[in-house]
Subunit: 406 residues, 4 copies
């Protein structure tokens, strides 16, 4: 038997910005018996999830599902659409944007990295005007793709993707638009078709509430067209055969069946609640969380209220306070996991995840754990964030309605 | 597929004083395949749980495990030790003591019901002196048993059982001592042998953290002796054959195998944490809860601090406030279940369960839900109970240590 | 972690006549979170199972569900309808009929036990003519109830209950008809109302495919009327309060929630397949099993083909062969559990269960294990029973149709 | 709720050569709550599985675990060790060898494909002498790697990898040896270090008894050295960072936590049974299966007894019989999935999987289903294969011993 149950009595609070807690419904669905991936049930399962996931991405076009975690879908987006030596315009919004850029380099692409110096760019969203300006300057159209992160998991900033689309159009530039919404999908509003995204990259372990292990490329007709001439070598990630076989609900190689069971359940849960209700719930919890942070007198990592993330909130600790020491205190004393500061923000902030299967009381537990832990760690607090959050949540109209059935 | 998933997104908070939330470890154990109840594995399982449960009851003598819920174990305690027409001295501590008395009447016993008038007796524990006085007066020894409830689930009062034992001894009376600790076992300190209890009745769905469906009679040699002459007709509940077959780990009729799997896991979890640590955790959470109630300016149902329950806290609502309306608001708005006022207390109080698989942050979520709900229901609150509870919990020494393994 | 996984690699074959293997669907349903037994979801669950179970019993009248295993429901049937000293006519069909008679004695009833001497009665069903004759002779109507076992789990005989009803009517006798179909329900055709049964006793761990822990009394209006004057002391088993509270989906005491989840799933599975399809499947598997036994040259325990059980088949071993040694060989070598010979049949037969979640290939595995084990145990076999069973099963019309959905 | 439960009553028999049935123990392990992939428990989990998996591969060197299905690990093996335009010597043993070759082409490698014409090469193992001859001829050492499939899932042939190693050594050729044992690992004996393999590719859904979704590269020091100069672009598959971070039990990107839980359990099950016992069990079941096929008078796909696979058996149907029609009959009538003929063998054979969590009676059920299905499909059978298999299995020494604990 697995010796991994480290936790003391009671339920551990996993409040990192993903992997998010997997609901029991999904864990149960994942325990269905594995079936023949070439048999008739599998075809039905395949068609069900392929159709359902389109509604989540808000697209009419194919969504490729990879039996691989999210980083792989980043690679798939690049390798299906680009050729060695291609210039790509990427935007530094934080740690994950930086990692995607490093990947582009490893794949023999030439990323150009826009952004502000220091950590300033890590506190704001994508500046579409800068993208437009750069594209206008690229009269030779050497830039083949614009790559941006929709929801920066390392900072708690949700950039305006529609504005990026408008920037590209305004510049009259033919570059593809590739967007990473690994941590945004099914938590923050996202519209693949309406926003004219060519490839949207996402993963399973955030708003979809699944364990890690599945990732996605939602692809536009323009992206498919680009893939026909793109020369980066690819096989596992290649869209062509997958899209073809997906028409009957199958995959060219073994898909990860049990995570697809979970995905089917996830889609049913999300569409059952209603995407708009899901987004509103995330907005409500995020606002409650930010009010708590402000009450404590601490700074929110995201410096621009227009792009606050509904998925997570980055909390900056005062000078002299190691954010990871605060996290450790909270972990040790209150059995809660919070997100660490990544990259440039190491030790300077921690991240509170309020995504996926989260509700008002889970957030209150989370904020109470933070408030107690901050005090124990010696952080001076201006007032009770917990009190502020309660006042806000109680003031909201009844947001959750009991489901008639599932 | 079962259409019973009524809840909105996120985890429901089940904070009634039992059934308490069943930990995933136990649910997983309960999903082991059902085995032959006459085969070799079953014998090993039987011996394991029969030996382990003795440690929980703190007894060297047999503990009978019934494949039936707790009410059945009440009947078993009476029918194995008494004869039609026997007088039993029972003590009114609340709703469950009253129900046990009604059962005694239905079984052709003559219960004599000690207690205070109105709801006064429902706010205090057993008065051992009154029992002693009554027994001294019973010079003919017509009273065959004294029946008391250790932890009154309807009120949040944990009576002093050792004092009752002393009262009986002081009176020099031969009556048996039958104790119901259905909601106390494995949450509040309990010592079957040391306290000289003859039959202890308990159930699975409280401190043992199992679903309902298993119940217990821990029995003293004196109780066994009494059973040999007791004349109440009995078959299913009869100890004799069960105790005999239990010696090899089996039962005379089909036991509920999958709940026994859960029981084995529960025992391992509890003894792994350590009974004293379990009790200390319950005391800490209960104290935090009471501090919150006092901060709100509300009255704790239990009027005697010496017998506060570590399992649950009864909260009285002010005149004119229907406690069930408060509960409904909390249920509708914050997806949390609290215990209703039972019997004489209907509408006048609600009950907060903080037993079993509960920890600091779960309690904080619970108190936040109560505080928001009370305000929404129009109950004037003196101060933030949540704040008081946080101050107390943060002040405690690190109570939970991470487990090395399970 | 539970240390109970004794089995070698691969799936254990649990082919005893109950507890039968619990399907994964039911285990998953049982792992739903425990809910407030006084809350709104619970009421919905209660109404759903109380309504559904009536269809399984084929009754319009109440079915009482006990949070207790099947033996308890035997006691409930007797104690709700009878008074101390009442004479009951019981019929010896095997070990379980004998145990029920012993229970009647312990409950201060006067059972009169009809039947054939030695093991002859254990190879045949109830002889309704003998019951009629006995009732005709009882002109004073001292007999208050006739108690028969529908499907004798110890022998593999399914008695004709309609004939018993006719016998009582023909005799013009007012006795109640109490029937145990613990192992018959949902495997063999059963019609509570049509057959005029007053109390039908059943349990969860056989045709309903649940773990043990739930049991049933289906009750006629005449039985309810009898309960109003019946004087056996009872409380836990008392129908009155349960039937009353069941009207809104609740119970007067804590029901075993998680087994009720399983019951809801079980009912959905059975009604989804269709009761008639379920019965036909059991008949097909039973016939295949009997053909195998005959091919081996062994004797089927049931000596009357008119009452062969569709649930299990008793196999008699030749003189000098200890049936339990055969069972042990099969268990050790092929990881399969078979039923032991009970009571008078100890060592002389073993029982093959083919009930519940069983299909053609599971039966073939079972018969192959028996055939290999019998040979290894030195039992001379006339021919391959496995071959006969295959020939029969292959000759059957396609019996299982794939479900469209569940 | 997921609408995917297509199967009729009873358990579906999944007897394809992978994905193999996932044991309940592993499904339960996979339902552990998802944890922080940067937290302390995760590190312990990571170290546990990374250390355990080495024992399964029989290597002292790193094993890279990818959160991706097996096809990805093929790509990883190539892209970490080779450069665009490199010649690789591959050997046509069947469908999967052919697919791997196609992948090499897509990755800009130049595969040279050795093998026999028609389906002859699909009935035999790798001919090491041919490899040696080809390498001897390659005096310029343009061949950079030799790629062979250890257990060809499409045919049921297990090639001799030690012989391939000897061939390379005999030729004095520096080519790397890359081996696919996706379907062989933990079912057929495999020795990464002893056999001098440079990269071993494997997956989760075969002998490891997990759902698909995890794959492996076991890598030699020589392979690591090669990776430092290999120029195929790679990021997700790149070993360097993974091997570095694995030292503390972590991954550079999100690993699929819940499948790693399953892997930890799988390793414990396999090492608990003992690798040699696991291999012997597979050999016993495979031999029983082949005896059945021969008794039926049908041809085994593998034409060379020296390389029979212990994992699966390919069964050729007589001229004029569509193997897929036979499979459909068996699926429809007996609820069993068998493997289809792939590539050149489409319609000419079916495959029986007897790997992973399989035991004697499961195999007997499988063979009975095949025998009945073949007859129903009009295939003339010489004798009962089921009878032959029973005779063989009964003749074997007791192979499975009950486990003392788990």
């Amino acid at each position: 038997m697995l010796k991994l149950d480290f936790h003391p009595a009671g339920r551990h609070f996993l409040q990192i910005p993903g992997p998010s807690p997997v609901p029991d419904r999904i864990l149960r669905a994942m325990s269905y018996p594995t079936i023949d991936h070439r048999g008739p049930e599998f075809g039905a399962l395949g068609l069900q999830v392929l159709s359902g996931i389109k509604k989540i991405f808000k697209t009419q076009h194919p969504v490729v599902i990879y039996p691989a975690s999210g980083t792989g879908a980043w690679e798939a987006a690049l390798s299906n659409t680009l050729s060695p030596g291609d210039t790509v315009l990427m935007y530094e919004t934080g740690h994950f944007a930086t990692l995607w850029k490093k990947m582009a380099e490893k794949l023999d692409l030439k990323p150009e990295f826009l952004g502000l110096p220091g950590i300033e760019g890590w506190r704001r969203g994508v500046d579409a005007e800068r993208i437009e300006a750069r594209l206008r300057a690229d009269t030779a159209h050497t830039i083949k793709a614009v790559c941006v992160v929709h929801n920066e998991t390392s900072t708690g900033v949700t950039s305006n993707i529609a504005a990026v689309r408008q920037a590209i159009d305004a510049a009259g530039h033919p570059a593809l638009l590739l967007v990473d919404t690994i941590s945004g999908l099914a938590s923050a509003d996202y519209r693949h078709d309406e926003w004219g995204v060519d490839v949207t990259v996402s993963g399973s372990q955030k708003g979809l509430m699944l364990p890690p292990g599945i990732s996605f490329n939602a692809i536009s007709p323009k992206a498919i067209e680009a893939s026909q001439t793109a020369k980066l070598p690819r096989s596992f990630w290649d869209w062509t055969e997958i899209v073809e076989m997906n028409k009957t609900g199958y995959w060219p190689y073994t898909p990860n069946t049990n995570l697809l069971y979970g995905l089917a359940e996830s889609i049913e849960m999300i569409l059952g609640e209603g995407l708009d209700n899901v987004f509103a719930r995330h907005q409500r919890l995020a606002e409650a969380c930010r009010r708590a942070v402000r009450a404590w007198g601490l700074e929110i990592q995201c410096a621009d209220p227009a792009v606050y993330s509904p998925v997570l909130t980055g909390v900056m600790t005062p000078e002299g306070i190691d954010a990871d020491a605060v996290r450790k205190t909270i972990y040790d004393r209150f059995d809660m996991s919070l997100g660490t500061g990544l990259g440039k923000l190491k030790g300077r902030m921690f991240r509170i995840g309020h995504l996926g299967d989260c509700n008002d009381l889970t957030l209150m537990a989370t904020l109470a754990g933070c408030e107690m832990g901050l005090k124990l760690a010696g952080v001076p607090l201006a007032a009770s964030g917990v009190g502020e959050a309660m006042a806000f949540l109680a003031s909201q109209a009844k947001a959750n309605t009991l489901k008639a059935a599932a």
